[in-house]
Amino acid sequence: MNCDEANILLHALVDGELDAENAREVEAHIVACQKCATALREIQELREAINPTDLRYTAPDGLRRNIKGKLPTAPAVVANRRAALKGFALGATASAIAATGLLLIVTRDDEQQRVLDEIVSAHLRSLQGDHLTDVVSSDQHTVKPWFNGRLAASPPVMDLTAQGFTLLGARIDYVDAKPVAAIVYRRRVHIINLFCEPASTQAETRASMQSLHGFNVRSWREKGIHLWAVSDISPDELSEFGEKFAAALGQ
């Protein structure tokens, strides 16, 4: 066991989440490694500094009364489709977790891979049936305001017709369980979905190009927005799209 593994498993040890065999391995590592022994002590100190009882809140009586008052007569509204789907997804997550057991260490790369999977899945979904656009317009001044009230931040919508990419419209999609804007462009007979969501930082990142199931995904961060362009057009053309979009955004 190396220190990187131990550093994560120390927490599981403290939390009583390790089976006997793994616990023994971690403990053996601690005996041999001063650095990890210190790390363990630090985790224990922090846990001792936290007094759960004092950090809990008690729900106000008024809130309890309000909820009780509203419940018996609350109409049993049928969950909408999105919510029903979410329910299924949660069930699937639960069984997946039950199947994987404990020692499934997911790195940052895995997270990015998962988002990439979801982006490509969302792109594929959008190509089936009538899921491509919720608002159909080639006018950026129609598409952009459509997002008002639907998303926290209005995404950038650029008219790139002159550059060879026709704006078709937009919709709301879900990536990583969060609503994102999907702006739809066409290049000849190929569809490009541009997913945007507010980035966690203002830091800009250079574009990266990845390929999955025959689709190319170009992702980059710019002006506080995280963007993913996905399509079956060639990486060169998708890069061209990204650059044209970025240029229009910069103006």
Binding site: E45, P72, P179
Partner: protein, 186 residues
């Protein structure tokens, strides 16, 4: 409108109340940390319970607490996006300097090492963590959830729970040390 199915709804509501209401304090606690103020937390908890009751038919038994907290978390997310208050992963460095750090007298640094932190300080330090780290601290340290239950609530694999918890604890410890250092160096 509700009269037609009064009996069914009534029976369902009774069962729901019996199962769900005992967890009100836990739900409210997470809401307070996610929303960071009392009135928004009130609204979120109310919406959570009404939503949970509507979807109660989809609850498949087992522990109801993680199920309730999953709903609460989704409600809080929606509230955030409606008011554009907070994006997950938002840094807190900006507000750190504006907030006064802990000013109370403490013993020597050596003695403080294993001493329980003042609860108000700890609350404030937890509240300063970015949302995804804040919630995992609340779920693990305050609600005493297992990794499996945390994974259910935050809808992420257990591996993510482990790495995020490790990071959250490191951040909280650093903030705690900084707060204590600030007061002892006074």
């Amino acid at each position: 409108m509700a009269g037609g199915t009064g009996l069914d709804d009534g029976g369902k509501a009774d069962r729901f109340k019996e199962l769900a209401l005992p967890h009100l304090d836990a739900v409210y606690t997470l809401a307070r940390y996610l929303m960071r103020n009392a009135s928004d937390a009130d609204d979120a908890v109310q919406e959570c319970y009404l939503r949970a009751f509507r979807y109660f038919d989809t609850f498949r038994g087992g522990q109801i607490k993680p199920w309730l907290l999953t709903i609460l978390r989704n409600v809080c997310h929606t509230a955030y996006s409606e008011e554009a208050k907070l994006v997950y992963g938002e840094g807190v460095e900006g507000e750190a300097s504006a907030d006064p750090i802990w000013r109370e007298d403490v013993e020597t640094p050596e003695q403080t090492a294993v001493r329980r932190a003042d609860s108000e300080t700890m609350r404030r330090l937890i509240n300063k963590l970015p949302a995804e780290f804040r919630e995992i601290i609340v779920l693990r340290e305050i609600n005493d959830f297992s990794y499996r239950d945390i994974a259910l609530v935050i809808e992420a694999p257990i591996g993510t729970v482990m790495s995020r918890l490790a990071r959250a604890r490191r951040m909280l410890r650093d903030a705690w040390i900084a707060a204590e250092g600030g007061s002892t160096l006074r």
